[in-house]
């Protein structure tokens, strides 16, 4: 029956349920955030690319990494509470100062069975 069990991997979804499982306990909101800045080199290249438009690859990767980091931190926080899944996850981004932005991920920590 438990042949599909993969260790203690945290299940993260942005729907309000975990498929195939029942929520047995709520632990409230959990969040993970990270503030990132890119070094001057990438910033300069982005400044040049800004002239002609198009995608800024340097920033795309920067923000992708940051978002993964934010999710990991959110998972850690949920893990400390004893949860094994995070549902209803949402993202947010905001610019803090020049060259730095905050990436936020938040959701509801739950225990599923």
């Amino acid at each position: 029956m438990d042949q599909k069990k993969k260790g203690d991997k945290m299940i993260v979804t942005n729907i309000d349920a975990v498929p195939g499982k029942n929520i047995v306990e709520h632990y409230g909101i959990v969040q993970g955030s990270t503030v990132r800045a890119k070094h001057v080199g990438v910033d300069c290249i982005a400044g040049c690319q800004n002239t002609f438009g198009g995608e800024l690859k340097g920033y795309s990767t920067l923000l992708e990494e940051s978002r993964k980091e934010a999710i990991t931190r959110m998972e850690q926080q949920a893990g400390h509470l004893g949860a094994n899944a995070v549902i209803n996850v949402r993202f947010g981004t905001s610019t803090i100062t020049q060259g730095a932005s905050e990436i936020l991920a938040y959701g509801t920590a739950v225990k599923v069975e």
Binding site: K4, I11, V12, T13, N14, I15, D16, A17, V18, P19, G20, K38, V40, D43, C44, A46, G47, C48, Q49, N50, T51, F52, G53, G54, E55, L56, Y59, S60, L63, E64, R67, I71, V89, R90, F91, G92, T93, S94, T95, T97, Q98, G99, A100, S101
Partner: protein, 151 residues
Amino acid sequence: MDLIIFLVFVGGAYLIGQHIEKSHYKEIEKKESACLHIPSVTSKKIVNLDEVLDAKLVFGNVVISGDYFKMIVASLLNFFGGRVTPYEKLLDRARREAILRMKQDASSMDADMIINTRFEMSKLDSMARGGGGTGMFEIIAYGTAVKLAKK
């Protein structure tokens, strides 16, 4: 003399910007037809959750910027009002690209569908020290990739 430099700059930005846009649209269309087997929907009630084997949060992001030509056209249009087509196209490209990246993320787990897809967008302009107000945006698309039980 200043005017010539300005015109060369704007003209160059226009030509290169157009070229980038066209090749990007071609690439998007090619990738979109390759990704048709993973539909992404905004609804979450479309699948019966009992039939789902595996679920995972997937996302794709794109940082995109306008060019000087777009900026000038936009500031002119700002005066008269109406549709700002250059930026409409820019954001359309970025959103479609973000969806494609999300689908790529989903295909790594062999997903059948992405449900509850959401978009998020933020302006990052002050992040670039050299950027001259051409507008820089991050677009992210995220959703839950699900793997369905085969019938």
